[in-house]
Structures are given as C-alpha cells and as structure tokens.
C-alpha cells in the first residue's frame, strides 16, 4: 500500500528525471565556479579534478577511503534528518558526537578486560546514551516553548569538546601523550571489513537509514511525526502527544550522533583524541540539507561529499592547494543547492 506515502513525486518517472537533471546541472555549476577559483590561484582545474577523481574512484583503495569518510556522515546526517521531519533543526550533532565518544571511551578504558561481544554493544549503547542525554535540554526547552532548539544545540556544541578535553587531559591521557588516551584494546575496536579501514559502522549506518525510511513511511509513528512537522497546532488538537515526540526525537537524534562519535573512536581512531572531530557534526548537517532529509539522498550526498573531502586531502599533498580550499567547493555546492526551492516555485507558477 504505497499510495499515502509517495507525496513527493505525483508525476512519476519524468519528474524524477527532471529532478536528476536539475541536480546534475547544479553540481556542474558548483564545479565550474570552483574551477574558476583554482584557475585564479594559478592551478589547472582540469588536472585537479582528474586528481580528485583518480585518487578516490580510480582504485579499490581510493573507494574504500571514500567509504571510511562517508561512514560518520551517514549517522550525523541522520541525526539532522530525523528531527527535521518534525520541523526541528538540530545543529548539535557535533556536541552530541563528542559526548557519545566520551561515554564510549569510558567503557573502553574501564571494562577493557571484557570480551568484544560484550564490550562493543556496551560501548554502542553508552555512545547513544551520551549523545542522547546531550540533546535532552534542547528537546525539553523546545517542548516547553522556552528556548528554540537551534540555539541550545548550537551553544552546547561549544561545551562538549571542552568536557572531552577535560577528561582526556585531566584523567585519561596515556603516559606518552597529553592529548589522547591509550590505544583501545582490540576488543574495543569495531571490526573492519574486507581488510580495509572500512568498519562495521558503515553497515550500521546504512541499516539505520533503511530503518528511518521504513519508520517514516510505513509506521504509525512516522505518520504522527510527519503530521507534527506539517502542522503542530492541528496535530495537538488531533490528539498527538507533540511535546513527548519533540523530546523523544531529539534524544534519538542525539543518540545517532553519539553513535557516530562512538564509531569514530572505536572504529576509525581506536583512541580518543581531544578535538578529534573537525566538524563531522556540521558536515552531517550539510549533507542532510543537501539531501532534503531523504534517506536515499543522504546516502548519495554523503558519498559525493566524501569524494570531495578525500580528494581534497590529496590535492593538498600533490598540487600544493591548501585543504581549506575544499571548503570553498563544499560551500558553493550548498549555496547552489539551497537556491533550488526558488527554482521550483517559479516553475510552478509559470
């Protein structure tokens, strides 16, 4: 029974094709603009793009590195996409991710004697609890109508890395370093796949995206959440517990970002570094908005963003282009995509 769910595409394949073409045109526009900037800096844009492409998609290793970069983005994007369905703007992925990493690390250090099958689930749960708790104030204050969740989540982002730094510098640092913990025991590491650096959290992320799609389109709770996002005043009168949903969804979203933090320390690094994230939470925000909050869109967009990010690393090494230039390309992509609703509205009236 798909009829109530596909409200986005009443006109079928032709509309999807149009949408695809439009996206491609916009991406092309961003790349042309970036090329102009490279040109102005005296670099050869074509060569740069070729480098990005061959270094990422040109080899099995390159592709595996793209997947590694993509993994945390899936989760932090989901942490934005889920609340956005209720009309909530969660900018707090970064802070929630840090708090998830913090609690997961505590378990990894404290219970390092436990076997993997016990320790890893414990770290996953604690990571989600850490991120989830960090979102509670934002959800509660919003549900009570006191403070907007955008403000609270953003402000808490500044606090969380400091708390992590406090524990790392103060208590947990290894004898050799001041800014990181000792390496985790193997039992506290997420298993990797096919001998690459890709770890299990990629599978978890994709699975959660599928679950997100299922919940939103098929279940009673998805219907109620979409109802709140569409008209909170009507939803209250329609008997939906709006306040409970707001708090609950913020906690789940925080938990997803916390899971990303857990996966970073347990899978990618195997150690907790102070200031390890470099904006993964914000990047997830970008991915979710580029994708319009749709699960498939998040999958595709995070892949594309991961290609740009990994390629940017290489540009820095081989072409002597500063890494921050990559941020210009990302910003341009966002800029062009965010101009999209205007296009659509004008078409509708025409």
């Amino acid at each position: 029974m798909a009829e109530p769910t596909d409200r986005r595409a009443p006109a079928g394949p032709r509309r999807i094709l149009n949408g695809g073409l439009r996206y491609a045109a916009m991406a092309a526009l961003a790349f042309v603009l970036f090329g102009v900037i490279l040109r102005l800096a005296g670099k050869d844009p074509l060569q740069a793009y070729r480098d990005i492409f061959t270094s990422t998609l040109g080899s099995a290793y390159g592709i595996s590195e793209v997947f590694v970069t993509m993994t945390p983005l899936l989760l932090t994007a989901l942490a934005v996409a889920l609340p956005s369905r209720l009309g909530l703007i969660n900018v707090g992925g970064e802070g929630q991710l840090y708090m998830g990493a913090l609690l997961a690390t505590w378990a990894a250090l404290r219970f390092s004697h436990l076997p993997s099958w016990l320790l890893l689930p414990m770290m996953i749960v604690l990571g989600m609890i850490g991120g989830g708790l960090w979102a509670v104030p934002a959800g509660y204050l919003r549900a009570k109508g006191i403070v907007n969740e955008t403000i609270t989540t953003l402000l808490l982002n500044v606090v969380a890395p400091s708390i992590v730094a406090f524990f790392v510098f103060g208590f947990w640092h290894s004898p050799m370093d001041t800014n990181k913990t000792p390496n985790f025991v193997p039992a506290a590491r997420l298993p990797t796949l096919f001998g690459t650096r890709v770890d299990l959290s990629l599978v978890i992320g994709v699975g959660l995206l599928a679950l997100f799609w299922f919940v939103m389109t098929r279940t009673r709770w998805g219907l109620e959440m979409r109802s709140i996002g569409g008209n909170p005043w009507a939803s209250r009168r329609n008997g939906i517990p709006v306040q409970r949903y707001i708090v609950g969804v913020m906690v789940v979203a925080g938990g997803l970002a916390g899971l990303a933090g857990m996966a970073q320390v347990s899978g990618y690094y195997g150690v907790l570094l102070a200031n390890f994230s470099r904006g993964l939470g914000y990047m997830g925000f970008l991915v979710s908005w580029l994708a319009g909050g749709s699960p498939l869109g998040i999958l595709v967009t995070s892949f594309v963003v991961a290609v740009i990010l990994t390629g940017g690393n290489l540009l820095q090494l081989t072409r002597d282009v500063p890494y921050s230039v990559i941020n210009i390309l990302l910003a341009m992509t966002l800029f062009v995509v965010l101009a999209r609703p205007r296009f659509q509205r004008r078409r509708k009236t025409a």
Partner: protein
C-alpha cells in the same frame, strides 16, 4: 450633545465622505451589497452589525485596502478612486486596524515619524515629539513620545495610533472595533476623545457590535445586516430595542427540520463543566466560571459574537487548553487533566472553527489526514504498519452517509476550503463519537452540504450523542439546538430553550447590553 435627526447634516456643510452603492464580493460571499451612507464633518458615525454583517469589509474598501467591485466613493463631493491605502492617506483618510500596527521595538515618536509622508532624511524627532505632546494635550491623548511601544498598554498604543493619524493630517478617522481591546473605563475615555475630535470638524467612523457603545458615543448610526444597510438612525431616535430589531430581527418560526424528541435531559450528562476557568494568553480570551452540561441526545448551541471565548471553550473541552480552575467530567469520569489523545479515544469528535490551521496537515495525503486522529485504531502489529484499507473503508462509509464526495488520493493541500471542511467533518463523525464539538460547522459549505452537515449532527443526536454547536449563525442555532447558551466576554450570560425565546433577546445578550439594563428576558 448635538442631537439631530437622521437625514440632516450636523453642520451646514455637505458630507465629507459619501459612499454610493458600494459592492464587494468574495468567493462565495456577497460581503457588501450596494451600500450607501454619508459621513459629515463633525460627527461620530457608528457602523453597527453582527459578525459577518460586512462592517470591516466596508471600511477596508473605503481605506483602499480592498478593491471594491462596484459603487463610488466621494470625498468633499468629488469622486475619489481609492485603490491603495497610500491613496486613501493622501486623501486624508486614516484607519486604526483591529490589530494595531505599531512596531513594538521602536518608540512612539519613531513609529509616528515612520508614518509621516514628508519625513526628511535627517529626522528631527524632538520636534515631532513636541507636536505629539501638543496634540495629546489638546485631545487628552497623552502618551510619552519616548516610550517604547512594547512597554505601553493596549489602550495607550491605541492613543499612539490615533496621534499618528492626526499628525498625518487625517480628516476622516476610521476605527475598526476600537473598544474590543479596551477596559470599560478606557472605552469612556476613547469616546470623549472621539467627540472632541469631531467637535474640531473631523469625521469619525467606528465599528462595533455593542449597543451601549453606539448609544454612548455615536451621533449617527448605520446598521448593517448581511452586507446591506438595515437602517440609519440618529442618536436621538435610537433606542436599544430599535437597534436590536434592525440587527437581528428575523422570523425563525418557519424554520423546520426533522428533529424528533429524544427526551434525554433526565439521563446522566455526557459532558459536564463545573466552574471552569482558563488563563488568557496573547490574543485569547479567558473563560470564567463556565458551568455546562450536555446530555445524551442533546444539541446545545453556543451563540455569541466570535472572539468571546468560543475557540477557548472548544479547546478546553478537547483538552488542548488547560483548566485553570474548575473541573471537567466525561460520562461521570473526571477528565480535567486528560490529554487530547485520551479525550479522542474516549469518543470526542472535534470540528474546529478553522480547519486549515487547527485540524488539517496540508502536506499529508487526505487519507493520512483522516487516519491521523485515530492512529491507535488503524495501527497493525503494534504500529509497524497502518491499515490503509480500513481507513479508506471508514472514510468512504462516512462520505456516503453524509452525501459528500471528494478525492481521497492526493495531498490535503489540493482540496478546496469547502472540501477540507467536508474532510474534517467526515473524519470527526466517522467513529460514532459520543461527544461532538462542532464550531462553525457550515462555514465554507454550499447550502446543500451545509444541510448535510446539519443533518449529520441530528443523526448523531438521534443515536444518543451529545453535541456542542458553536456558531455565529443564529438561524442555525435556533434550527438545531435543544438548548442554547450565550457566550459573552468568556462567560455564559444566558441560557434558553429556542422555542421560548427569540433572536432579539439572544442578540441583546450577545452584544453585551444586558449588563447595562439588568434585563434578561
């Protein structure tokens, strides 16, 4: 006191403003039907009428806010083509809207300066403040020019609005329900100010539906009813009874609809409110001391001018608005603090006054909108799946019973206003609710659908449901209700049986004139 008879101008001059045959249609409604009236310099002219009589539309057409369809407006005897508020302002017409238009973060003098047409680039605010104070002294409109508007009471803000118009050289002042936001003592002060302004040769038009205000503050009165002029009176001729007849008098005895007796009042009430009071937030009104019982098989009508607590009454019964005092009982069970979801599961149906904002989620499909109030009922496997087939069958069933037809596919936003209303009625009546709160149920419906909706309420009544019918259409209330109450200022001010009363008596309470005379016939 310049009591003059209706036709004669209060001064020797001709009318400042003449309106001739003004007509304005909105889709499906004839808001103003060939209205003519004159306003002379030096008079306070009241436009009196029920809600929906066309008063606001009329003055908005004069102010150029709406474009009139036909008719002409003459200022000083010359035709004036007022197509925008800017043009109206150039012709020295000023209007104070119901919702005041000052900018809260700015000071009074800054707000006034913003409005002046010839404001120089470098403003001389102290000079403007000086003028404001001089005007304020002259007309008893004292407002601190340097106060921030957000720190002023509503009454003071209204004075600031008036000063703004006066400094902008207005000769014709229009006030849309100016007393709605004022406390009683402020009302008296306002009328003194208006009389003073008129004595200086300005023409003042104000809108109201309260009789005592008209008798207190107007030199001449034009009564509107259903978009037409029902009568013109001078203050000397006007009495409360005459005005009430002009506003309300209609013969309801010919109305009939099949309404068999249910003999219900002996039973235990389905809903009972005991001394319920609420707190006012923002633009809402506080309910005070509401005692109300609705028995099985009974329709209780709530008459009143909208904005007197109707929305709050519906919301407090549904549970969306908290009772500050008093208690609420459903089938003898205390539900004072029950959540909306519990009330709905206990069989409460709710048709709100404004379906688009209060009932419908436009981006969801029609079918999803129908399912969303009773997700517990349609959930399969604990909520993992929804039984869309059952939703469709229930909806089609209810549609057939009501004789409505609209498409169940597609998003709700593609439905017209009338179909949205039909959808909400179908949704709320499809689970045989035991208590139905129906606000303005026929609004936006054509005559046939309106009849169908009314019949549906009677069917519900016949099977023993309790119905609270909130309406500003007295005809509808008299037609359907077993009992009726009148809501005014958040209180129930009268209780009647329709067969024992008439529209004029109910109208008297609706307009708040009972308190003046202590009569309650």
């Amino acid at each position: 006191m310049n009591a003059v008879s209706s036709g004669v101008p209060p001064t020797g001059d001709g009318p400042l403003l003449r309106v001739r045959g003004l007509t304005k249609h909105f889709p499906g409604v004839l808001a103003n039907d060939s209205i003519s009236f004159d306003v002379f310099p030096g008079e306070v002219h009241a436009l009196l009428g029920e809600n929906g009589a066309g008063k606001s539309t009329l003055v908005k057409c004069i102010y150029g806010y709406y474009r009139r369809d036909a008719g002409e407006i003459l200022i000083d005897g010359f035709a004036a083509d007022l197509r925008t508020p800017q043009e109206a302002r150039r012709r020295r017409i000023g209007m104070v809207f119901q919702n005041l238009t000052l900018i809260p973060a700015l000071t009074v003098v800054e707000n006034v300066a913003l409005f002046l047409p010839d404001l120089p680039i470098v403003m001389d605010l102290p000079a403007i403040a000086g003028e404001l104070e001089a005007l304020g002294d002259r007309y008893h409109l004292r407002v601190d020019p340097w106060a921030h508007v957000q720190d002023l009471s509503i009454g003071q803000q209204q004075k600031a609005e008036l000063l703004k118009l006066l400094l902008g050289q207005a000769r014709i002042l229009i006030l849309d329900e100016p007393t709605r936001v004022l406390a009683p003592h402020e009302v008296e002060g306002l009328f003194q100010v208006l009389a003073h302004l008129a004595a200086d040769g300005l023409a003042v038009i104000f809108i109201t539906h309260k009789l005592n205000e008209v008798l207190q503050g107007a030199d001449r009165i034009t009564v509107l009813r259903q978009g037409r002029v029902a009568g013109r009176l001078s203050r000397a001729e006007a009495t409360e009874d005459k005005l009430l007849r002009l506003m309300f008098e209609r013969d309801f005895s010919s109305l009939s609809i099949d309404r068999p007796a249910t003999g219900a009042s002996a039973d235990r009430p389905i809903l009972e409110l005991r001394g319920v009071a609420t707190e006012a937030h923002g633009a809402t009104i506080a309910l005070r001391q509401i005692d109300l019982k609705i028995h099985p098989g009974e329709i209780v009508g709530v008459a009143g001018v909208s904005g007197n607590g109707q929305r709050e009454l519906g919301d407090v019964i549904l549970g969306d608005l908290a009772c500050a005092r008093g208690s609420k009982w459903l089938y003898g069970k205390n539900v004072t603090h029950a959540a909306v979801g519990e009330m709905r599961r206990d069989g409460v149906g709710f048709i709100p006054e404004d379906p688009l904002t209060m009932a419908v989620v436009p981006m969801l499909s029609v079918l999803e909108n129908i399912a969303v109030t009773r997700t517990d009922r349609y959930a399969l496997e604990g909520g993992l799946r929804m039984d869309w087939r059952a939703v469709r069958l229930d909806a089609e069933d209810a549609m057939q019973q009501l004789g409505f037809s609209f498409s169940l596919a597609g998003p709700a936003r593609s439905l017209s206003g009338g179909n949205l209303q039909r959808m909400v009625i179908v949704r709320e009546l499809s689970h045989d609710p035991q208590l139905i709160i129906a606000s303005y149920i026929t609004r936006g419906l054509d005559a046939q659908s309106a009849r169908a909706a009314q019949r549906a309420l009677l069917q519900a009544r016949a099977r023993g449901a309790a119905v609270l019918l909130i309406s500003e259409d007295l005809e509808e209330i008299f037609l359907l209700s077993d009992r009726l109450v009148v809501l005014y200022g958040g209180r129930i001010v009268g209780r009647f049986r329709p067969e024992e009363t008439g529209a004029v008596a109910v109208g008297r309470l609706m307009t708040g004139s009972q308190g003046e005379n202590g009569r309650a016939d």
